[in-house]
Symmetry: C2
Subunit: 367 residues, 2 copies
């Protein structure tokens, strides 16, 4: 199926529906509960109304797109696992044994597994989507990770996966990642796009001690110095210090927003992809829900920069889309409360007298 | 069906299975993910192993027991809604229009609706369980809420509801409440059992301003002065400053632990019930998961006293079991990760070399 490409997608992403947001906020006040008592579920529900253009959103179908890619920067010894693990984990996803596999099965979430650019050979598999951007990126501490053409190829592929998912009936689209070394490249992306130092954005990843982390931080600093990514150009940042799977996920986020679906973004690596997507088109954030706060240190800064408030905070730092799968249940609960609860009038429940000055309303912003 | 009564239940609640906890902790270290990277899901999964006595727990069936009761203390004007709302909301539960109704439907959770002691007349309904402890409690600011016999009746009824749920196949049992005025009685219970002042345990409830909250705090202080509840006797606390639905929920928690099921406790009112259950038998906490941190102020103190860490923190303060329904999805995800993920050996994924001194393991305690 022919999908629109990046330029058309960027031009086609519109802000959420302000009228629907207004109607949803009104409706929240009529439902049989004290105003504000559903907390974050209320603000989530209002966001969903804006995305789906109705005060009674009823999102159906859940897909998580898990993109895998390898990173040349592993040559610098910044990770605890051998590079082969990326391909081995892709096989584990396909075999149904990974964390995201079992969680998705339990929660009725479709998984789409993508080889964005894994270094090791992978066998053909009917369920594996192949982008084929390369056999892993180049080492960002020496030069750019990829060419601009490779970056565009990945983003366009991601757009296509999101639009495919939307077409087959998924209203809730999640992002997931796998890639040995990708906390290092994500730390570089987050440093550039949030204008923070690598010391602030670089966390432990799968590393085990302070010495490994210090080395990793130096590698990120070096990558930024060598590449001088242009923070006003998301594709430049992606191509210089990013990764193939991060490009695919940035595309998934853009494609989801273009298709007016809710995009549930996983943790740190997906957060780096969301920063790139948002730098290309700030309206995407209307469609994005941050599923959880990763234990990975730079994630907090990335979320703050995007003004996204994570739904969950469970000390997770696995990636794969695991946080996204968990948060989808909360998103569905938010939607059903707004859409399916009885109003005071419908249920014959007495509302209290309004009290002008101190009336509450939805406790949080629309996001 | 004849169920064991309180005394037998208290004697029959045993600690969680330490061997299964040990085996589950070992298994967590072999699963295809960096150790600790599933954060809270790992500690939850280990707790589930201890409850169900297996390192591969697979809990099936979810029930939330929603108990409703009225509170004589509403005579003191401590709430924003008329007392009739309790009965009206029971009808809303039965009609499927309340928040917990729509969320439970979406998440495949059974609801059991209990009239623990509602003041207004309720029609017979095939799905409504009637405890009939009274037409609302007496005003705790004047004297005891109920007799000790009424308290025991409620707790025994709750035990029965939990054992019924377990018998028909629910491995995950949640608590929920409805009762105009019950944040006031819960504040009193929490103050007594955590040894804190009413000023610290009394929150806004459905109240709207600082003046209402000040009055409410004074009412709680007065109730404790008048009744002098004995903090070493949970039934005394329940009967003097509690409520019928709180007694039922304390029974549900005890019954769930006795039946070796996981008990997912909702917010502030359920937390007060858990404090009573725990004061009668501290082993119950092995079986309890705190679903969320309520926005209601005293809840934090109650959780800290019970050494329970809430799974969710979504600014909710509705009750009804809504937090419990949400957390059940996380509980199921934790179980399926431990039970169904592939190990490194099974999936042919390379593990990293162990590094003695800095090895991680499960990041949190078993609860």
């Amino acid at each position: 199926m022919e999908h629109p490409k990046l330029e058309k997608v960027l031009a086609g992403i519109t802000p959420a529906d302000a009228d629907a947001i207004h109607r949803a906020t009104e409706r929240q006040g009529q439902l049989t509960k004290p105003p504000g008592s559903l907390g974050r579920l209320e603000s989530l529900s209002v966001q969903l109304a804006g995305i789906f253009g109705t005060e009674r959103p009823s999102p159906k179908g859940k897909t998580v797109i898990v993109a895998a890619g390898d990173h040349g920067v592993v040559a610098q010894g910044i990770t605890g696992y051998p590079q082969e693990v990326t391909a081995q984990m892709v096989l584990n996803f396909l075999g149904g044994g990974a964390a995201v596999s079992v969680m998705a099965r339990k929660a009725d979430v479709e998984l789409v597994i993508v080889d964005a650019g894994v270094a090791s050979d992978l066998p053909d598999h009917p369920a594996l989507k192949v982008v084929g951007a390369g056999k892993g990126t180049a080492d960002i501490s020496v030069g750019p990770a990829m060419t601009r053409e490779q970056a565009e190829l990945c983003v366009n592929a991601g757009i296509g996966f999101a639009l495919d998912a939307a077409e087959v009936g998924s209203d809730i689209i999640g992002t997931g990642d796998m890639g040995i070394g990708n906390t290092t490249t994500s730390s570089a992306i987050v440093a550039v796009l949030t204008e923070r130092s690598p010391l602030e954005t670089t966390g432990r990843g799968t590393g085990r001690n302070a010495k490994e982390m210090e080395h990793k931080t130096e590698v990120v600093e070096h990558a930024l110095m060598v590449n001088q990514p242009n923070r006003s150009d998301g594709l430049d940042v992606l191509s210089k210090v990013g990764g193939f799977e991060i490009g695919v996920l940035a595309g998934v986020i853009l494609g989801g927003a273009y298709a007016k679906r809710v995009v549930v973004v996983d943790g740190f690596i997906s957060g780096a992809a969301a920063l790139i997507a948002g730098s290309l088109c700030p309206h995407v954030y209307d469609y994005v829900i941050a599923s959880h706060r990763s234990a990975e240190k730079g994630h907090k800064l990335a979320l703050a920069h995007m003004k996204l408030k994570p739904v969950l905070d469970l000390g997770m730092r696995l990636g794969e889309g695991t946080g996204g799968v968990l948060a989808m249940g909360i998103v569905e609960a938010a939607a059903t409360c707004l859409s399916d609860m009885a109003t005071f009038a419908e249920a014959g429940v007495s509302d209290r007298e309004p009290e002008g000055a101190e009336s509450e309303g939805v406790v949080e912003g629309a996001r």
